[in-house]
Amino acid sequence: MTQSRDIAAGRCEAIALAKAFGDLHSPLTDQQAFNEASRCFYCHDAPCLEACPTSIDIPGFIRRIATGNATGAGRTILDSNIMGATCARVCPVEELCEEVCVRNTGDHKPVTIAQLQRHATDALFEAGMQPYTREAETDKKIAVVGAGPAGLACAHRLARYGHEVTVFEAKPKAGGLNEYGLAAYKMPDNIAQREVDFILSVGGINLETGKALGDELTLDQLRNDYDAVFLGLGLGAVNALGLEGEEVDAIKDAVDYISDLRQADDLMSVAVGRRVIVIGGGNTAIDAAVQAKRLGADEVTLVYRRGPEQMGATGFEQDLAQTNGVVIRHWAKPVAIKGENGSAVEMTFEATQLDGKGRLEGTGATFTLAADQVFKAIGQAFDAAPLQGGAAPEVSGGRIVIDETRRTSLGNVYAGGDCVAGQDLTVSAVEDGKVAAKAMHLELTKGTS
């Protein structure tokens, strides 16, 4: 006996919805920023700087805020990380810079670096400053595939070096996951596009959207037409549960749902189930669960096959889910799906535990949850198919292989971001793009002065 799906848009009043999807953290006032900046010790050999994948001079920018030089602070950030504005909003700082802040020791509270970074980058954007100029134009042309954080960071650096860059993007908009993949309450006020506009405004970057690698655009062709190629392809595939019945319409990939939500003109038009299940333990799972709750779902249950320590989501994200009313059930994996298109589904989960060797095993105990909507967020995968059909860079462990300069096995092809091994973070992607750009520039200008 299956129930029909209870899925509807507009479960909340428009005003409540606007509030729920407004800024997760309200921006600091000038006075708050000054007070917080005053807490920074201006450490020598600062641990925060070292913990930042892009090595932002954190004490340097915070000191600038404390002296009333917020635009200088913003510039200091962008010098190391051109996506400092997004990173200020989404970086898992509790596991990076803020985790190692020396004020954790005495005060048990780090300097809120992310909020200060936002304050500084906001100040720079509000001032409408363009801190960067391009060096004399070279005759080098470079193709960047993918307008996500890695690709845009790479393009920006290359443009500054004077090269001419063309960025190919499959989606209608640039920004990658900043635009399509992060919870709306983290990226309000169209910050992703404002940041993209800022990056492109340096000049020398030609953005071509709606062009994906693999169709009329091949790597062979790009290598032929351009002096170098950067691949910032992201993760094109989504892991499946591998269960029968997974294709019913109540079950959807969380990334698609988040993308639809981010692109919706009106959140009142985004449908959400009365009872929602999210499967997974990363930030995508949390983003989907919290947004479902904020859209007005009655019950949102996040089921993860391991415990809180193993979750990819940070402690902050887990707390956020729970304070938003999401029920998190650890140590359970889906084993069966009952339902058909148009109906609610019943998902059966088996309890899990670690065996003596630390491997996950089912205990045999099961429980069943009914849901009007199920979001799968059990990981994404790199899709190497678009690279096939010609000379392709080496792929290992499901990701493109690169050296420390981000060069692939193909001489003039570099790669970075989620499509290479490493932490799948915006900040890491920016670093990849930045490092690759420098290496490409050195390579392309070798022998010239």
Binding site: N35, S38, F41, Y42, C43, H44, D45, A46, P47, A66, V102, R103, T105, G106
Partner: protein
């Protein structure tokens, strides 16, 4: 509880905490609130002669803030009281009658003419106040009219007016000194020579708190222009301590009763001035920052500290620090200390290292041991300067005495001094 009662220049007070002559003591309403809060005395805001009105401008205050600490220093361009003389006198008399146990001192500033002083002294005597304070200190406004600091900067004038006052009244006379002089000993000695019963110091320091970079004008700004003002608050305490110490340790002025002023914000500050010989202390900026109730902590803080130290009354520790203030040449050249970092408390900010490395003696090493930062003192390079200790935000650096077995030897005895008097 220790006995906090004290006396300065013949003026008795139930505790050493007075409010200085300033805006907080301008009228009955404020002074009664202060007495209710527990203040031992007040110096009523300076009275001028009856007649030409004193008029104030707006704005009047400038301040220096450091980090989240508001009002590290305060500056003002306010003049003496702008209320009618007879109103002030009437209120002073009433408040003194209602609060007989508190010290009521009246600050005065009239032109340098004997008749002007005779006139106001008689009027003030009628209030039955406990004493007067001659305002020879204010560095702004009134000094342009030949009063305040314009008098205080000329020892001959200080002596002359002090003598007039001692001649024409039996009230105890405190002389308030300006710090805007090369040496405080000149005016302090003049106050003594004129027969003054004591001195109050320091009055405010000539200052401009900041320049408004939009207006291109100093602050406080009055319609686009500013004037230097008198600086006070915690920032000036070190200067005040120095000047009090100079008076206390100089043969010509030693023993001159002092009512200390200058950045006193709590019982500890007050105790420091009493240790330099002060009989009472005066507070202004701290109450203008936090209100009158800070005196509660001043009273029980000082009392508890005295109990712990075994001091039963103020005079038990008054002046005890004076013998230890000496000239540099008397310091022990053989005294040796080195910095010691309490590693368990160190948060690894590295400031001790970088300041020593960049600006001092390269005596703190920075290492990575298994990836962990470690900062260590290189004893042989450390000169015991204390810089790292002051810089450390976690207060985990102390200075350890090195037992070098050497006896006391000052610079006059040091063989490295070509003018040494020591036998070779």
């Amino acid at each position: 509880m220790a006995d906090l009662s004290t006396e300065v220049g013949g003026i008795k007070s139930p505790n050493p905490f007075w409010l200085a002559s300033a805006p907080p003591t301008d009228k009955e309403y404020n002074v009664v609130r202060a007495f209710k809060a527990g203040w031992g005395g007040v110096v009523w805001k300076t009275l001028g002669e009856a007649g030409p009105p004193v008029v104030n401008v707006s704005s009047r205050y400038g301040a220096v803030h450091i980090g989240e600490q508001r009002i590290f220093g305060l500056n003002n361009i306010e003049l003496i009281t702008d209320r009618p003389l007879e109103v002030n006198l009437r209120e002073i008399k009433k408040v003194k009658k209602d609060w007989p146990d508190r010290a009521m001192v009246v600050s005065l500033m009239v032109p340098c003419e004997e008749e002007a002083w005779i006139k106001i002294l008689k009027e003030v005597e009628d209030t039955e106040c406990d004493g007067i304070e001659l305002n020879f200190g204010c560095p702004h406004g009134m000094s342009e009219r030949g009063m305040g600091a314009a008098v205080g900067q000329v020892p001959e004038y200080v002596e002359m007016v002090t003598r007039w006052c001692k001649t024409h009244t039996n009230m105890p006379v405190l002389v308030k000194l300006t710090p805007n002089v090369t040496s405080i000993l000149g005016p302090a000695g003049a106050a003594k020579a004129g027969g003054g019963d004591g001195v109050s110091l320091i009055n405010t320091v000539n200052s401009i708190t900041s320049i408004d970079l939009d207006l291109m004008a100093p602050t406080p700004t009055v319609d686009g222009k500013g004037s230097h003002g008198g600086y006070c608050g915690p920032a000036v305490k070190p200067m005040a301590l120095h000047m009090c110490a100079e008076i206390a340790r100089n043969a010509g002025t030693a023993g001159l009763p002092m009512s200390a002023i200058g950045g006193i914000s709590n019982w500890r500050d007050a105790a420091e001035f009493i240790a330099l010989g002060a009989g009472t202390t005066q507070v202004c900026t701290a109450v203008m920052h936090y209100g009158f109730k800070i005196v509660e902590d001043m009273i029980d803080g000082l009392s508890d500290w005295m109990d712990q130290k075994g001091y039963e009354k103020i005079s038990d520790f008054q002046g005890l620090a004076v013998p230890n203030i000496t000239d540099w040449q008397n310091l022990n050249m053989n005294y040796e200390i080195v910095a010691e970092i309490e590693q368990a408390k160190c948060v690894k900010c590295g400031l001790c290292h970088i300041v020593c490395e960049d600006t001092s003696h390269q005596a703190i090493s920075a290492e990575r041991i298994d990836g962990e930062r470690k900062y260590s003192v290189i004893d042989d390079e450390c000169v015991g300067c204390n810089l790292c200790m002051h810089v450390c935000p976690e207060n985990c650096i102390t200075m350890r005495k090195v037992d070098n077995g050497k006896d006391y030897m000052n610079w006059t005895q040091d063989p490295r001094n070509p003018f040494s008097t020591a036998a070779e």
